[in-house]
Symmetry: C3
């Protein structure tokens, strides 16, 4: 590997090594494109879950957050996260807590290797960022959301990401092989879901969500086609998310990872469909979608390390956790999460982290969980969970508290009742009707 080779002509040669670079570039870039397409999935999903009068606001938040995020991640987020990881040229400087090289992809980091890593990683940051959008939909101020996006992509996400993926202290814990979060159950989905919890809590429930006696009302979305299509589009992208996270198709384990992702999603969907059916005698397709996504979230950390049967068990448990969490968040904690992001991404982000310590069979990456006879890995995973919760709550609460004081988080109540779209965005989402 050569430092600072922006043309790739010093890196590539007609040789085994050159072709290895090429095939791994193709794999990682195409996977990154698939992960980008998850933005379309989130857009469909969220648009389906919200009311017609606030759809454009959701679209705007979910579109703009990744645009802002990309610029911030280029400016400094990437440098904080991967500085010192030595994963590519120009990423030499950093310590166990923070990185500090690779800013603006200048100097040695103007390199074909560094750009391929950046391309893959920005899509993950964008995913974490967008997860929160659904939980605060239908009452959050657009500009508050923009500022949140800058903070998440610039500070919250990269710092924790550095600990786990940038040769930080979690990755190098002296238990098992150190904490492992293969494709980001915790780093991406756990963080997104936990910050969603904090944000939805501080901004408060939508007008009319709770009755005076505290019982919740159902506020229906407006288009369930979008929800199903969004789920399918997310699974499509998730194959890139998980199998692409090897960053190399010369790691043939990718096939096991892809199959695990699919089986966990299928298992989660079927479990939650029938669990709901036995409760309500209705075949709730939205619950099936939630179950599929829950399975995807949970297998994201462990998909590389576990056998296929375990993927099915992990998805099954994930879907039950989701159902329990949906009930607990809505009815007990009285936090209003229109799309279920806290339960799908947050709760299963943590479950995914723990599942590494339970089901890893030792066939890949040296990761051995309880079924392979070791409890140490579970300890490392548990520490990662606690750290993630502490980080998200401490810094997240502080951030949203300050933002609430400085700018305010909510649109005025009359705007919320009549619809945010004309107020913030100048038109409705369906102007003709």
């Amino acid at each position: 590997m050569f430092a600072g080779d922006p043309s790739g002509s010093n890196t590539y040669s007609d040789s085994i090594q050159g072709l290895k670079f090429s095939v791994n570039f193709a794999w990682t870039l195409l996977s990154a494109f698939l992960v980008f397409n998850m933005q379309a999935g989130f857009t469909f999903l969220g648009a389906g879950f919200v009311q017609k009068k606030n759809t454009l606001n959701y679209l705007a938040m979910s579109f703009v957050d990744f645009c802002i995020g990309a610029l911030i991640f280029w400016l400094f987020g990437f440098a904080l996260m991967f500085g010192g990881s030595k994963l590519a040229p120009g990423l030499l400087c950093g310590n166990s807590f923070i990185g500090y090289s690779g800013f603006l992809l200048l100097g040695d980091s103007y390199d074909v290797h560094t750009s391929v890593l950046w391309m893959f990683q920005i899509m993950f940051a964008a995913t974490a960022c967008t997860i929160v959008t659904g939980a605060v939909a239908e009452r959050f101020k657009f500009h508050a959301h923009v500022i949140y996006s800058i903070f998440l992509c610039g500070v919250l996400y990269p710092v924790f990401g550095h600990w786990m993926w940038g040769k930080g202290w979690l990755q190098t814990l002296p238990f098992g092989v150190g904490a492992r979060d293969f494709a980001g159950s915790g780093v991406v989905h756990g963080m997104g879901g936990l910050i969603a919890f904090v944000a939805a809590w501080i901004v408060g429930p939508r007008f009319g969500k709770y009755n005076p006696d505290g019982s919740p009302n159902v506020i229906h979305g407006h288009n369930l086609v979008y929800i199903v299509i969004g789920t399918l589009t997310l699974i499509f992208g998730w194959f890139g998310f998980n199998a692409g996270s090897t960053l190399a198709v010369t790691e043939l384990r990718v096939s096991i990872i892809a199959v695990n992702t699919f089986l966990s999603a299928a298992s989660g969907a079927v479990t939650l469909l029938y669990f709901s059916y036995f409760m309500t005698k209705k075949s709730d397709i939205i619950m099936a979608c939630n179950g599929a996504l829950a399975g995807c979230v949970a297998i994201t950390a462990s998909g590389a390390y576990v056998p296929h049967w375990a993927a099915i068990v992990i998805g099954l448990i994930a879907s039950l956790i989701t159902r329990l969490s949906l009930y607990f968040i809505e009815s007990k904690l009285k936090i209003d999460d229109p799309v279920g992001a806290i339960s799908v991404h947050g709760a299963n982000g943590l479950w995914g982290l723990l599942s590494v310590g339970i089901f890893s069979d030792g066939t890949y990456g040296g990761v051995r969980g309880i079924i392979a006879g070791s409890c140490w890995q579970l300890l490392a995973q548990f520490i990662a969970c606690v750290t993630l919760i502490a980080w998200c709550f401490a810094v997240g609460l502080l951030f949203f508290f300050v933002l609430k004081r400085l700018l305010g988080l909510r649109v005025p109540v009359n705007v919320e009742r009549s619809g945010i779209d004309p107020y913030e965005h100048g038109t409705s989402c369906y102007p003709g009707s």
Copy 2:
């Protein structure tokens, strides 16, 4: 190739052979992801073709069938289909009629090669399964559809698939090179379309489809944007379906296959557009979509073996077959197929099989059709057609007959009239409106 290498580290090495595995893994997995995305295509297509009041029911059936199917295919479908094929480790046991190894992807079949094959193949089983959904839409019971999905993915599809793709008796017929169905005109689309025929026939037409004098009424779908987008999404996935079916991009023929797929789709679309235009003086875009899909179905068997001009002829004939079949099924046989699955997938599945015996030019796989001077291949293809029809009708009729007796296939007529969505799924698809 090593038996049972779940990490891939024994299989891969920094060598020509290792890289060959890598590039073919990348190709096959990315193609599988594209084929998965066809589920979104079918969801759009079917949702557009059905009435608003039954849309959620269609979504539920088309989503859940592949989830259930994945679990069944993992449990035993894959083992029945590929056991004995020796295409990957752990698939040693089987005979010409049935396979019996690879259950649960355990033992030697916990291997990177076997998982890549499973990942590609489950997407094909899921496609076959989903094709039927549209034909029985708007009156089929959800739970009957779930049981059907288990039966198709677990028995119907794998057994015939074994005969054609798992070193079974059709593949080894002593005529030509044996029956060939490159990417599954017959195995996937023919079976889906023929089972759709059986299911739609037994369940009977929708209430109001036929007048007392037997003449059919048009029951409009509710969103033609979805139909066009669904068609485009299906074509997008079909490139993976067909070109990916080499399972190897080291077979450079993939480029010919991709071009043939596109040309056949284009030819089918243009032909059916203008054929309709000369009949009705309207430019019927839905017919153009049907023509494109018909072209895709027909070229699926033969795309690898024929020259480009033949792809255009095959698509042209496919679209005319579709138009004729649509008329015949609806007006003569009085079978109600809301999305045209029988005509697009069934009729052209058979035409695709036959086209191999006519247009194969001998440049690939040794397959020589009539234009290359041999009639034997056509005989093998004809036997495959007859076998497929006999298998689907015999076993399909028996299955749906038993299911009708045990559980019933149709929702109550008052539910059908008012809409299945609230009854089966507890809500409408567009709750806000």
Copy 3:
């Protein structure tokens, strides 16, 4: 490279060279599939921008144009464009102005290399063709559009494309390295946008677009979800469009290209969002989408040659050009472009061409712009711009003028007022409602 190898078995061998072909085939084909999926993006985008009563007409035009285009490009468009380029077998004959070999992909051009090139290139021709659809929507005759598609894919596009990409006179200009348009800012988007200008001008504005005093009215689209999803789908495809245009992932520069595409899109979106906000105090998400697409268009020519910071500057300028052009086209020139194709694709196609001459840093392909100390490249780019404008206006005007005389371009005014869909296509787009 062997001439006329339709099986690929003479071309491929288990060697470095064979694998290089394979990995580059995989890259180029998968990129072509992504570019094909941009058709879904344009379909969503345009469907969202038009009124409900004309949606089906838009769908029909945007679907059929690429089907017709594929057949024409196979018959002779490809031969005119790449004959003489020697980029693949069977493309020997041609001069600086026109190619004349590769017709029908017969003879030596029945080859795996030629088909991979054809597959990639038809998607670009289809994109250019579809761009025009939006600008003439809601009043253009369907059959006039079909004839236009034949002309564009058969003559207009291939001839200019030959000059730039088929070893034609622009590519070999004696200034800098000759004119360069890496992935087609000019060839594809500039041509699409300029022809859109000519077509929208000649066909005239929609009924009701302009008041008697010449001031424009806003004619709202009908579904802004489609617009945002369309934009995301287009960006997804654009990664293939730009990074795939190396035709080889052994050019590791692909990663820089992908990152540049994303940064330019993000920069364009954020710039136009806030520019609009400071003008109107509304966060106009449609403007953000326009900005993202403008950034994509502009970086299409230069993405391979410029550093990351320049991609951000190029996107920023592109979005401002778009805003200015939208105003100028609508209010000064009084040309009615329902989707903004002229401003997004046309204006930025030219800006993209010029940006190569300014920001190329000399790290790739020997292209050195002003920031690398050379003004000659900018001269070559300027000549390409002038040529493109002259070609599109001269031939485009002549073509649409003749077509107007022979067939007429517009539907009758009463049809335009009541909706084109039932008149041309026999049904409305949303039959149920």
